[in-house]
Amino acid sequence: MANTWGYGAMTNSLNDIQNAKAIIIFGANPAVNHPVGFRHLLVAKERNNAQIIVVDPRFTRTAAHADLYAQIRPGTDIAFMYGMLNIIFKNGWENKEFINDRVYGMDDIRKEAAKWTPERVSDVTGVSTQKLIQITNAYARQTPGTLLWAMGLTQHTIGSSNTRIAPILQLALGNMGVEGGGCNILRGHDNVQGATDMCCLSHTLPGYYGLSDGSWKYFAKSWGVDYNWLKGRFKAKEWMNKKGFTLARWYAGVLAGKAGEDKIHNAGTNLKALVVLGNGITSIDQQAKVKEALDNLELIVIADPFVNEAVVLTDKKDDVFLLPAASQFETSGCVTATNRSAQWRSQVIEPLYESKTDQDLMFELAKRLGFYKEFTKGMLMKENKKSFKWPEDATDEFARIIKTIGFTGWTSKRLKNHQKNWDKFDHVSLMGYGPMKGEYYGLPWPCWTETHSGSPVLYDINRSVKEGGMGFRNRFGLMHDGVDLLAGKGSAPKDSANPDGYPEITAKNIEKVLGITLSASEKKRIGKNWKVDTSNIIAQKCMERGMAPYGNAKARANVWTFPDRIPMHREPLHSPRQDLVKEYPTYKDKPNHYRVDTRYASEQDKEDWSKKFPINLITGRLVNMNGAGVETRSSKYLAKLSPEMFCDINPGLAANHDIKNGDMMWIHSPSDTKIKVKARFTYSVAEDRVFLPMHFAGYFQGEDRSAHYPKGHKPYAVGESANTVTNYGYDIVTQLPETKGGLCRIEKA
């Protein structure tokens, strides 16, 4: 998404969906996973007669609310959306003016879409031609239409193409930058957006600054530490610039060197220690490998309010530390909701028992590791203080530093004020009234200045920049293949001093692009460009001229830096349709993918997987559970609603294996792993697939691991982890695991 138009985040908000006239949902199940947010969709249905369309391999509870439902084969969303685009272009339903002024590369899409006739789409996706035409007709002819997705779209080897084709569909229809439109990614955990913005990520520094020398120098300066000291902390400078391991594949960093394991590139060492703060690593793909990796570590440190079931999975006998972490109600700070808005979370009680907050744990470790002073200095710098106040000074620290996604306006004072007055905001637009007038609830980023309103709808040129308007970001240069990448004539945000496209603002071009003259003092204080301008002169001047600091450019349908320049359908590594694998093969194997060699073609071509593993395997959530599930399984009431692990299976499929409702069954994976679970009959899955909830742990390949819980800490429900049998496979760009399009074999236990 970020590679399409600048930012990778939900473009509108849940409340804004009330403005939609049509709603299409790919691989998301908000009725179960975001129940309270889902009511905004139902308002749109009731008030605007908006059709709800669900495209999902499983008839979910969201599908039960839908007007139209397509039971798609897992991993074929690209084919489906090209099918929609084929019909849209054929009938001239695309928004030509929007495409002309604001999109680069749509002609390439047009060519590819022409190949995806309804018949071909039907063959690949398993959805009838009539259903495809009906859905396209219902969605494309009602504007604005909003498009929602979640992990069902992203967790694939082609996830990063999926997250481009969906924006392309919206761009073709002109559904971007309008109320009731947009690409609305539903984040899972409460602070997925925030923790991602803060970049607990191996490929970038906070605010998506990347890992270049310039970024490290900017952060060293902003943290108040010497760049050379920071550099000296790394093994060598080159390792500052190289992406690290990811959550999906850290295990490979431990296991490398053993027979059959993928090769790693990690500064000449394997991983030997693992430090986990609040991450349910039992809900990650390839649990058997995760277990083996845990067993082979020298040190495991885990801080969690409940027993992180990684310690139950491992047989490691020594140096496994389990630390009691405080919950988020025992500390305070801000959290970013799915729509980029910040909410202040007040502390309810002091940490219970001996638990410590995550920040205190980090401070204590930093003291002992000798960098506490450097670690906390950033909090003292704004006002040149002697001591800091957590969390306010931390909030103000990142607000001071992170310009890329417009955090300048997120001061702790303003965020607290929003919490205090949360009753004074409109329920659809989220615009404040009374004392909150002129501000959107939670100041959705980018929030360019300390008085900015926040931006409720990304890329909306129907409002001024001061009121949250903007074009697409100028992030990919000024020209490509001789085509101008800046926005077309007349497509600047309302009240812009420059009515056309313009580049991102730098100290060098500011006077020319904004048509202003800087004073000598301003010239002295201004930063090199808008991303590192801590003086905020660029943002201030831009607001005055009604222009966005990041420029006004075209979105791009063609990402020339990606392995697939336009999204291409590729069959999953383990595909039930071997005939299609030849036509739509996966990528070549990728060396050094986040420090580990990753198999694509060699895995797909190894054998005809569909012979031994004929059933599609999909995973997802339950309404009463969350993530790896230990929090919710530690509640008596929630655990009771789904006391044991199960497998949703169509009675027709079950009958062929002599499995009765409630029988125990084995599920085997291509990685030679298996789980034993209870069969639950349902017609929500077709006969060629089964569904597993992802929230259980405590059993491993048929073995009850209860004895490994510390006494008195076993959750009220335990079971096999679905991720013991989810298949090998990782996204080609982001390395997200393929948990939604694998294969399996079943048998009666």
């Binding site: 530390f321 009691p324 799915t338």
Partner: protein, 186 residues
């Protein structure tokens, strides 16, 4: 009135058990069996109206999903005693799902981790924070010296608040590695 209640709270029975009993008493009427013993007493009129006199309401946010529903937590003497939906929250508008409604029980769950533990020779053993932190940092520093900072993997969380997430990234940077990640990658 509040003073009376505070006095009652500091009598010989524990606060929690008192509250339970007072609640029972008010629900069933102050029967003689409850009222006559030394163990308990009748709830005051004020307690019948409000079982948690002097409590504070704290506005906060659910930690379950990214909708970010408002939560009103009622706290009395440092104890989270009741949870209510936030009728006036602009996104959740008084809504809660079963997970959100359970926040109070999650926090007060009996099976929470209560003190640092370490596995030694396959057995769980209780240790102090100081000992845990000293041992962990010694081991980390040893590994840092012998194998380099890239021998450690840091896994953070989408359950962090923003300040913690930002500081965790900074922690890995100052430790000297890019081996850091959390649950979401797109």
């Amino acid at each position: 009135m509040q003073n009376t209640t505070q006095k009652a709270l500091s009598t010989r029975i524990g606060r929690r058990s008192f509250l339970k009993m007072a609640a029972v008493a008010s629900a069933f009427g102050a029967t003689s069996a409850f009222a006559s013993g030394n163990v308990t007493r009748a709830a005051t009129k004020e307690e019948v109206k409000n079982p948690f006199p002097g409590s504070k309401l704290v506005k906060t946010i659910c930690t379950s999903c990214s909708v970010g529903c408002g939560v009103i937590a009622e706290v009395q003497n440092g104890v989270w005693v009741r949870q209510e939906v936030a009728q006036d929250h602009p996104v959740s508008l008084g809504g809660h799902c079963c997970k959100g409604a359970d926040m109070i029980d999650m926090v007060r769950s009996e099976i929470r981790n209560k003190h640092p533990m370490v596995k030694e020779n396959g057995e769980w053993k209780r240790i102090s924070w100081d000992s845990a932190l000293d041992r962990i940092s010694k081991k980390l520093e040893d590994l840092r010296k012998t194998s380099g900072p890239d021998s450690t993997m840091f896994l953070g969380s989408a359950k962090f608040n923003n300040e913690q997430a930002y500081y965790f990234r900074k922690f890995a940077a100052m430790y000297g590695t890019n081996n850091i990640d959390h649950q979401a990658r797109i």
